[in-house]
Subunit: 693 residues, 2 copies
């Protein structure tokens, strides 16, 4: 099945992910494509355009069996003409069209001129050209005809970012796919080819920024901004640059002390300010288009401005000043809360922390600071509400942060296609400026006219051959890129594209995998923590059930289940007042038991086990039913998948089947522990008398 021996050292199909470029067997279709693909006319010159040409050559060769010839001057044969708008401008690709493009946008147009077929791939700038090339290859992956194309594509979001949580010892914080591809033994791994293939994968779905080290910056990684490692950072940046991806570093806020040997890292200290300026200058001498710094400060034991009685704005601005002359930005994470909470103290609510910490600072940040806000107020749970910070800071650049890595959603053992979750978040209306103040309109910068904005996410890849542990988890990386390019795409559309590009076109393969993906999030939700309450997982590694695992701990993540009921009262009326952080419409919606949706009921309210949901079920019966159902659904997933044994690559089949078996075991653990826990606590029998221990 694998005909891609030109690809980097890879002998396994799964390595190529959605860039399989599988040979097209339909001869008529080959002929159709050939009518456009005899040669490539390349207008303009840049490393990014070179990447586009190289990718097209690989892809077309693989699809069609023959490579197009390359031309740089006008030719007469059927051709793909690619280049930037300033080079291509003609009556077909004209100013009227070009004016519709944003910086990263592109046009694809196919025409028949004097019996000569031409396919234009035109970008506003060179990155658009590369995106157009990937777009064409995607169309071919879907076996779409290319006559009469007239496509204008603009990415909706400015920052389309990936955060690697890789440590230099080779481990990955929340990594479920082997070790880091970037580092090993406290050095750069030197596996530049693999990094290049990662750049290809990211660029093919429109990612344009990457931070290459863990937001928790430990001892060795602190030195990434020193001459010890900057040459290798620069080499890495070179690779990503060729694919239109800017490189960022996560920094240790205590660097002035640990690297600079100053006595303080106080952001208002002139020595510290000077140190950051010189350091930043040094970094830019290695990487002229360096993106900037990602900062986790005053969070989960990381150092930050609080040590010096400074606030986050003080903390971020000193870095922003240093980056400003070079066009760099500070990405400042809002994941700040008291992680040494006394569980006895119900006045503290972790959900309120980001808003409480940052909202008062609106307008105080320099304009090259961007706040990076997790999608929810807690931490990437299978279900939580949208963070009330979105829309609450009209004068501060914002990025939303998702987690492609499945830390709390099955760790790439259990199947969980996350695009539907992300879509719900992006479609959530904050009412910040009345109706249609959806999160997607905030993070794309349009609602408040942010200078910088966009979307970031924690990567799910490692050095496993298939990149993502479970091969089906590749869909999340693909889907993340596609969704943030265009949040209006449906989760199904994206999944279908991915299935076709990855597994080809057999109808039942497509149907089954699509079906598995689209069910997977609700299934995972069914057998894990119920009704939005979250957590209930094993502390530390976060896999598998432990209902009281965080209940009496310092982390602020409680469910308060007792003899009579369960849930966290976050209302204004009787609870922590968290609902008051939302704009009126949402505050009312969550505050009232009448309107609060079942799926988030226990996040916002403490109710008796006998409380009746909108669904008509009691809370306790809902818990029992969903947990029994979840296990049956996983059995069905497995059963469905086994029908594909003959259709899939052997290694991929074995890989996914193994994960489904482990998922089933995990789902049973969840079912039995959750059901037993709540049966023991409530004393209420299952209406259907099923086995509870």
């Amino acid at each position: 099945m694998n005909n891609l021996n030109y690809l980097t050292g890879a002998t396994e199909v799964s390595y190529h992910c959605w860039l399989q470029y599988t040979k097209i067997e339909d001869e008529a279709l080959v002929e159709h494509y050939q009518r456009y693909c005899q040669s490539l006319l390349v207008l303009g010159k840049s490393t990014i355009i070179e990447s586009a040409v190289s990718e097209l050559q690989k892809g077309l060769h693989s699809y069609l069996g023959s490579k197009p010839s390359i031309a740089t001057q006008e030719i007469n044969s059927a051709a793909i003409i690619l280049g930037t708008a300033d080079k291509v401008n003609n009556p077909i690709v004209n100013n009227e069209l070009i004016d519709k493009l944003n910086d990263d946008g592109y046009i694809i147009k196919s025409v028949n001129e004097n019996d000569r077929n031409i396919l234009y791939l035109v970008g506003k700038s060179d990155i658009g050209v590369l995106y157009a090339a990937f777009h064409l290859l995607r169309l071919m992956a879907s076996r779409k005809m290319v006559d009469n194309l007239s496509i204008i594509e603009n990415p909706r979001n400015q920052f389309r970012m990936i955060n690697q949580w890789d440590n230099m010892d080779g481990s990955i914080e929340r990594g479920y796919s082997g070790q880091s591809i970037f580092y090993t033994d406290n050095q750069f791994s030197g596996d530049w080819e693999r990094i290049k293939d990662y750049a290809r994968l990211l660029s093919s779905v429109g990612i344009n920024a990457i931070s290459i080290n863990n937001v928790n910056v430990f001892k060795v990684e602190t030195n990434l901004i020193t001459e010890q490692f900057l040459p290798d950072v620069a080499k890495t940046a070179d690779i990503f640059r060729a694919y239109g991806i800017k490189t960022f570093l996560s920094i240790n806020y205590a660097s002035p002390i640990e690297v600079g040997k100053l006595e303080t890292a106080d952001p208002l200290n002139p020595e510290v300010e000077k140190w950051w300026q010189q350091k930043t200058k040094e970094i830019y001498s290695y990487i002229p288009d360096f993106g900037g710094f990602v900062v986790k400060a005053d969070s989960e034991h990381r150092p930050g401005p609080f040590s010096y009685n400074r606030n986050h704005a003080d903390g971020a601005n000193v870095l922003a000043k240093a980056l400003q002359p070079f066009g760099g930005v500070v990405i400042w994470r809002c994941f700040v809360y008291n992680c040494l909470q006394d569980w006895r103290d119900r006045s503290i609510d972790r959900a309120k922390a980001a808003y409480d910490n940052f909202k008062p600072l609106d307008g105080k940040f320099l304009d090259n600071v961007i706040l990076q806000i997790k999608n929810g107020p807690m931490d990437f749970q299978v279900r939580e509400p949208v963070s009330p910070l979105f829309g609450a800071m009209s004068e501060t650049n914002q990025l939303i942060e998702f987690q492609v890595a499945q830390e709390y959603t099955g760790q790439q053992i259990d199947l969980c296609y996350l695009v539907p979750q992300w879509k719900e978040v992006l479609d959530f209306d904050t009412y910040a400026k009345g109706k249609q103040s959806e999160v997607k309109n905030i993070v794309d910068g349009s609602l408040f006219n942010f200078k910088y904005s966009g979307i970031a996410a924690v990567s799910n890849i490692g050095n496993d051959t298939n990149w993502t542990g479970n091969t089906l988890a590749q869909a999340n990386l693909y889907g993340y890129g596609r969704l943030i390019w265009n949040p209006e795409l449906s989760a199904e559309e994206i999944a279908e594209e991915w299935v076709e590009a990855t597994f080809g076109h057999k109808q039942h393969v497509k149907e089954i995998i699509l079906n598995m993906l689209m069910q997977s999030w609700p299934i995972y939700e069914n057998y894990t923590a119920p009704l939005g309450v979250g957590w209930m997982i094993n502390p530390g590694h976060h896999y598998g059930p432990n209902i009281d695992g965080y209940e009496y701990s310092v982390w602020g993540t409680y469910h308060f289940a007792d003899h009579d009921g369960i849930g966290v009262d976050r209302t204004i009326a009787t609870g922590t007042g968290y609902t008051g952080q939302y704009f009126r419409e949402n505050a009312d919606y969550y505050e009232s038991l009448e309107t609060c949706p079942d799926e988030l009921l226990l996040f916002f309210h403490h109710v008796p086990y006998t409380y009746r949901l909108h669904s008509g079920k009691t809370v306790i019966q809902h818990i029992y039913d969903t947990h029994f159902e979840g296990v049956e659904q996983v059995k069905q997933l497995r059963e469905m998948f086994t029908r594909l044994e003959k259709d899939l690559d052997k290694a991929i089949y074995a890989n996914v089947l193994d994960r489904l078996e482990r998922q089933l075991a995990n789902a049973k653990e969840w079912r039995d522990k959750i059901n037993t826990y709540f049966y023991r606590k409530s004393g209420i029998n299952d209406e259907k008398n099923r086995m509870i221990y």
Copy 2:
């Protein structure tokens, strides 16, 4: 305060433990002792007698300010005459007296002959001489007069053993006092002086056997029985031998494979049998009086005979055969249970495992095999019943195993004087041969006339200056030795001896510390797991509360608390049938709610929270009351102790106060988590309306 600069490199008082030999300030008393101590007449010669002489010289010098002269021939001055019975035999120390001694026994007699004071220290063999010397020094520690002494002492138990759980990387499994004194960096530490001081401490309380490595024998330690390490083992044995202590090694049951490169460790395989014989011979060539092997097999993932479908008798006997020619023994641990239990399966009861595994093998072990049985059926909990294996195997040598290390009893942070607990166990009547079949009469060998028997315990020492982390935990090591020498001593007597030897003779110091020690076990029980149910601790490290920490796990340690009640039904009538492993009288006693003692109620029965104890309280109110009380009691401990600030060595005072602070924090955690957990689960209010979260 420290006048012991002749002791090994120690500059801190706490290092010397109960061998302080503090200078006697009372001049009349000095004169009294001097009347016997002008010289030492030493009859007989051996390294052990040399140790006795050396210890007496140190002690007398320190107590009295002057060293006695040494003589080996009859002298005329006042003297201590020490030697073995065969050398001393005379009208005063006569055959009638000597016949009352067992192998390790001794006589102390003081007489006035012709105006000459003589103090006889006479052992049946040389170890008795050393014990007599320590006894005299102990009398002086207690400032007792020595006129007209006529003491005959025989240790009640044959094996008086300490198990080190030290690993060669320097760590100690369940160590709470620093690193190993024996090993560091996968080598012997070479700290022979410290090891010698440890031998002195052990010998001073009558310990006569030691196993020097962890019962979990990992990769490096497997090689302790090879030429790589045997020279150092021999050196260690030399040190202990001089104090009458035999050296044992814990072995890896897979040694024939891992060391011998055989393909099997099957005990019935002739190659394996031969390998063990040669290996044993080799060990004895280094250590002619080597004690034998301690074996943890088929337990908690350690290899054993089960891998070859052999039973424990097969497993032990192959080693016993190899040791027999040299007089060595196999100490085979009975801590065998299913540690991969499915918590859903209530038919399995870990408490039954040791009995079920070993009872059927009674009589099948060779006579130099000794089974080492933990005091309770679970694992060194603050409260559990006595293991039903005691008395159940009349034809198999038995050792009881205690844990001086406070794994589950506060980890040498919290104060817990364990002698009262051990006494209860030893005094427990098994009814194996009717009344007066107490555990102490089984493990001393008398009830069933065992060839080998006695008591072993896990050590609590490490390389902290004060040996035991919390200085007051020294009392447990001291008390362990004294109690197993003579189980009829009371816990108070032992504590008083220890306090005087360690802290001197101020009345209020004695009273306060004695009071603290004697209350400490009940206090610890008050604020931890209630009514004998055990566990409820953090998995892994076992410190601090986690009520459901082991509830849904593989370890077989459950409490089954639900909406209505709590406890494990281990009755014959309706439960796991564990009570049936006891002899009739005890089986009936525990089976019936009428007679089952409150303190073990939840170990044997599942009862409603509203069940009324013999104490008159309900179970739930008992839980609340004991947990509130426990914290108040710890506050009192701390308060009492602070009254000693001016009386104690500064470092000791600071050390103990620090631990008491940490104990208080721990007790509060326990109180609040336990109370909240049970309040939430039961929904029943505290009668006294105290703060429950």
